[in-house]
């Protein structure tokens, strides 16, 4: 009894804020529910409508394209940055702080900053591009072809957390492996390929899974910066889910979207976990 009393804060929190909302969300996904009226059970209607909805496919494809660009770019940039920050140079801690600082900036503040940087006429990026000779600079967030790449480029701004995790992994690689590789005549590139990457592969796997989940839920920055435009070119899955829930008050439809999103994330994570047997090496294995 006393044990249950000690457990009760967690149990109450778990039931009230996790388990019951999850079960209710699953139930509502089979209902027509606007918050203003009681839910009306509709069976699989929301799921059927979802797969016939052209905007659903549009946001799904947009999100897949964004993830396919932002995820590898973020991982490569973070790993490269971590390798540089792992070098024994003067002012190392200052560089590490500078790289991590953007992660501490609130997303809304970052969005406002980048809105200015990407401004087609006055933005710093286009000013610099024009200064170095580019005449037709992109419209960035107002250009249907450049809005998505702009958001992907911007996503690199927040890689500080990933860099820190990579850095911790890099510092955990045994020095003697590098020494042995050097004695065998391995160049810096070969040491990175044959020692560093295999040794930090669990870290890469971890960041990959977190990255999959994060990029498939991209929301705040495009929500503030583009509102999904121009012409829905940056309209992502979670934004459409949000609009259905809170703008159109279609809670049932939004919940169905949330469950489909969960299944997609689960499938991709399972795929990553299955593939990890081939390329992730744990120490001792």
């Amino acid at each position: 009894m006393r044990g249950m009393a000690f457990l009760s804060p967690w149990l109450i929190g778990f039931f009230a804020f996790t388990l019951i909302p999850i079960v209710m969300s699953l139930y509502y996904s089979f209902c027509d529910y606007s918050l203003l009226q009681p839910p009306l059970f509709k069976g699989l209607q929301n799921y059927r409508l979802l797969f016939r909805d052209p905007v659903f496919w549009k946001v799904l494809i947009n999100t897949a394209i964004y993830a396919a660009m932002a995820l590898p770019l973020g991982l490569i940039a973070a790993l490269g940055m971590a390798m540089l920050l792992n070098l024994k140079i003067r002012g190392q801690s200052i560089y590490r702080t500078i790289i991590f600082l953007p992660s501490l900036v609130p997303a809304a503040a970052s969005a406002m900053l980048w809105l200015w940087l990407f401004n087609a006429k006055l933005g710093l990026i286009n000013v610099v591009l024009r200064a170095v000779g580019f005449v037709n600079t992109p419209g960035w967030l107002t250009d249907v072809h450049w809005a998505m790449p702009a958001l992907v480029l911007m996503s690199v701004w927040g890689i500080g957390n990933t860099v820190i995790i990579f850095l911790a992994g890099l510092q955990d690689v045994p020095r003697e492996l590098y020494e042995a590789a050097s004695i065998d005549g391995a160049t810096a590139l070969r040491r990175a390929w044959h020692v560093t990457l295999p040794m930090i592969s669990p870290i890469i796997f971890f960041n990959l899974v977190i990255g999959i989940i994060g990029t498939l839920q991209v929301f705040v920055l495009p929500f503030i910066m583009t509102q999904g435009g121009p012409a829905r070119s940056t309209y992502f899955y979670t934004m459409y889910l949000y609009d259905n829930a809170f703008s159109y008050l279609k809670m049932g439809y939004a919940n169905a979207m949330a469950w489909v999103q969960l299944l997609i994330v689960l499938a991709l994570t399972a795929l990553a976990a299955w593939s990890s047997k081939r390329w992730v090496h744990y120490q001792g294995n």
């Binding site: 009306l40 409508l49 249907v144 999904g228 435009g229 121009p230 703008s247």
Partner: protein, 178 residues
């Protein structure tokens, strides 16, 4: 105002925005009634207005009512309308109000507001979806991704389906309630 589009669909207040953002355009613009989808109808427009209200539980009801009465005095309303480049919502206007108005095209707007084909924005239960669909369509149109005919037909089809589904759900709810 950025010298990139030839015309926009806007309201009376836009005269002020032109003057504020690009004064060099002050004598270089004009106003015409937007054509109607139904060619038999003339002077079709939406008319909306701001409404002053005294919320329930207000602490200073008397003062609030006095303020509303003050704003609705003909001289004050005309001053406000003139500064905002808008028409007066009152039935009568003083002599010279239209002649000396800050908006040089105020007569076009005044005629539109008095038209039997002027309507308030319809109360539609799926209005946010209509707005979003039309915004997306407008952007596609500007980017030449779709022709007006095709784009409007697609928007019409999608919104009609959503509207029909909403009404069907409401009918089902009513039938269950009885």
């Amino acid at each position: 105002m950025a010298s990139t589009v030839a015309m926009v669909q806007q309201g009376t207040f836009f005269a002020n925005m032109i003057h504020h953002d690009n004064p060099s355009m002050d004598s270089d613009w004009g106003v015409a009634v937007f054509p109607s989808a139904d060619p038999k109808l003339n002077d079709v427009t939406y008319c909306n207005c701001d409404v002053l209200t005294i919320p329930r539980g207000a602490k200073h009801k008397k003062e609030a009512f006095e303020f509303i009465a003050f704003v609705n005095r003909q001289d004050e309303m005309e001053k406000l309308a003139n500064l905002g480049c808008k028409i007066s919502p009152l039935v009568k206007v003083t002599d010279g109000f239209l002649e000396h108005h800050n908006n040089p095209y105020i007569r076009v707007f005044d005629k539109l507001a008095a038209s039997p084909n002027a309507h308030p924005t319809e109360l539609v239960p799926i209005l946010p979806e209509i707005n979003d669909e039309l915004t997306s369509f407008t952007q596609q149109l500007i980017l030449l991704q779709v022709t007006p005919e095709d784009g409007l037909r697609q928007v019409q089809e999608r919104l009609q389906q959503k509207y029909d589904r909403f009404m069907e759900d409401q009918r089902e709810r009513r039938s269950l309630a009885f």
